[in-house]
């Protein structure tokens, strides 16, 4: 009997250790994503569709530069640097976002890790080969049905994420992206960097340049799933909107939910309803003259639950 209890204890300790080790991988992956120079082609599969894109990521003295470019379909391009985002729109690069309040790096602070382990069961489930690299496969199984399972393949050498899948509660693939070709380090094309530096003459509107400002909006979400913590509450300009929009972001460590609140301008786009793209679900609804929009890499039921529990508590 004693023996059995001891054995149980040992098994529990091992299990806890396994969990911790898997969570350590997250830190490695996040660090590698920001600190590695790489260039590669990846395939994104979602909703029965497939898209191929090229991504280049380099770290310069003034921060990270990243270029994402579609290889099939219409020409699409995104360049990011320091929380600023440029898009290829109408044959020119236009700045679409600028976030000075970006305080994310270094990623995965200890409290995030503890939130994560409270809501997901992390497990290393083996090694696999992706894009010619050997990778460690880690599965994050949610402890409730308000979030998706995440499966990641991390390069055992560099720690870079080589493949990631989001799984639904029947283990069906909601979305998946996989590198098919990847060069880590070495001679990577940087010729595009100068052309879109922030101080270049790219068109950018005044209010967008300001980015968001932290606020206490007075809005709260009553029925937030366990483990989601507020990471951001800002008032921000948004392209195509005349008035600033309040954005509140909640995260459980692996996925996030954004709540947008703005006065309803009666626009035709403000029709309520649910839509999705891959793992992202979006739910719109006009409530008492306010347009609520909830976006997140969570199941549809979660964005609905969140939107229906938005209340004004006052400042």
């Amino acid at each position: 009997m004693k023996m059995r209890a001891a054995l149980c204890g040992l098994l529990l300790a091992v299990a806890a250790n396994v969990n911790a080790e898997s969570l350590d991988w997250l830190k490695i992956v996040a660090f590698a994503a920001h600190q590695t120079d790489y260039s590669g082609v990846f395939v994104y599969q979602y909703d029965n569709r497939i898209e191929t894109s090229r991504i280049i990521h380099v770290v310069e003295a003034d921060g990270e530069y990243e270029k994402l470019e579609s290889l099939d379909g219409p020409k699409r391009k995104i360049i990011r640097h320091h929380g600023q985002v440029w898009c290829y729109i109408n044959n020119k690069m236009v700045q679409v976002d600028s976030q000075q309040v970006r305080i994310r790096f270094p990623a995965f602070l200890p409290e995030q890790i503890s939130t994560l382990s409270a809501n997901y069961q992390a497990e290393q489930i083996g090694v696999a080969r992706v894009a010619g690299y050997s990778s460690q496969v880690i599965l994050f199984e949610p402890k409730d049905n308000l979030r998706y399972a995440h499966k990641i393949w991390a390069d055992t050498g560099s720690g870079l994420l080589l493949k990631a899948a989001v799984l639904g509660d029947k283990d069906q693939i909601i979305e998946q992206y996989t590198f098919t070709q990847l060069q880590i380090g070495g001679n990577i094309d940087r010729s595009w960097i100068g052309t879109t530096a922030p101080d270049s003459s790219l068109p950018m509107s005044q209010e967008l340049a300001k980015g968001g400002t932290p606020v206490n909006s007075g809005w709260t979400v009553g029925a937030l799933p366990a483990g989601f913590k507020k990471t951001m509450e800002i008032q921000r300009p948004m392209r195509g909107k005349h008035t600033p929009v309040t954005q509140i972001v909640f995260s459980d460590g692996l996925s996030a939910i954004s709540v947008f609140i703005e006065p309803d301008d009666g626009g035709e786009d403000n029709v309520g309803g649910l839509s999705s793209r891959g793992a992202v679900n979006l739910y719109h609804k006009v409530v008492a003259g306010q347009l609520f929009t909830v976006v997140g890499e969570v199941p549809a039921r979660t964005v609905i639950q969140v939107l229906d529990s938005i209340r004004y508590k006052g400042k």
């Binding site: 994104y44 599969q45 029965n48 991504i55 729109i89 976002d97 929009v245 786009d269 793209r277 979006l282």
Partner: protein, 164 residues
């Protein structure tokens, strides 16, 4: 009784228990019928070219009432399946068949999965391009950025709007 017969067929009974049960089956005609039906179902699920014909007349009669055990179309058939599927041989074979089927579809699992998922998920409406500003705004603060960096932007519709 049914459960015990099923366990017996699974080979999960101890020798003495099995012996007792077999004796009981010999004596009890109902149990004997169950025993035969379970074996018949196991045989049918294995899809042999020929099904043993040395079944008692009673079993044959019953089989005529529900001739297609493998085609789950009516509730009645489903009910039967539920009742009998516990039978060891049957469930083993069923698992085998499923495993075999998934092995068959494995190389192209994704499209199949995606199709199923489209049917299962309530939100099958694609996010409209007009809403991509929200996706962009959300993406910058999503933990997926920490994992996959800019590749996560692939989720924003067409990497941005069509310039409204």
């Amino acid at each position: 009784m049914k459960k015990e017969i099923s366990t017996l067929m699974d080979g999960e009974l101890f020798e003495d228990e099995a012996e007792g049960l077999l004796n009981q089956i010999k004596r009890d005609s109902d149990a004997h019928k169950d025993w035969e039906i379970y074996h018949l179902i196991g045989d049918i699920l294995r899809q042999p070219e020929h099904i043993h014909c040395d079944l008692s007349a009673k079993v044959r009669e019953r089989m005529q009432d529900e001739p297609v055990v493998l085609a789950p179309r009516g509730r009645e058939v489903k009910q039967k399946m539920r009742t009998f599927a516990l039978s060891a041989a049957a469930s083993l074979v069923a698992v085998g068949v499923v495993a075999w089927m998934s092995a068959q579809i494995a190389p192209e699992t994704f499209p199949q999965m995606a199709m199923q998922q489209a049917a299962l998920r309530p939100a099958s409406v694609q996010i409209k391009p007009q809403s991509s500003e929200y996706l962009m705004a959300h993406q910058e603060f999503s933990p997926s950025m920490d994992m996959s960096g800019g590749a996560a932007y692939i989720r924003t519709v067409a990497y941005g709007t069509d310039g409204k």
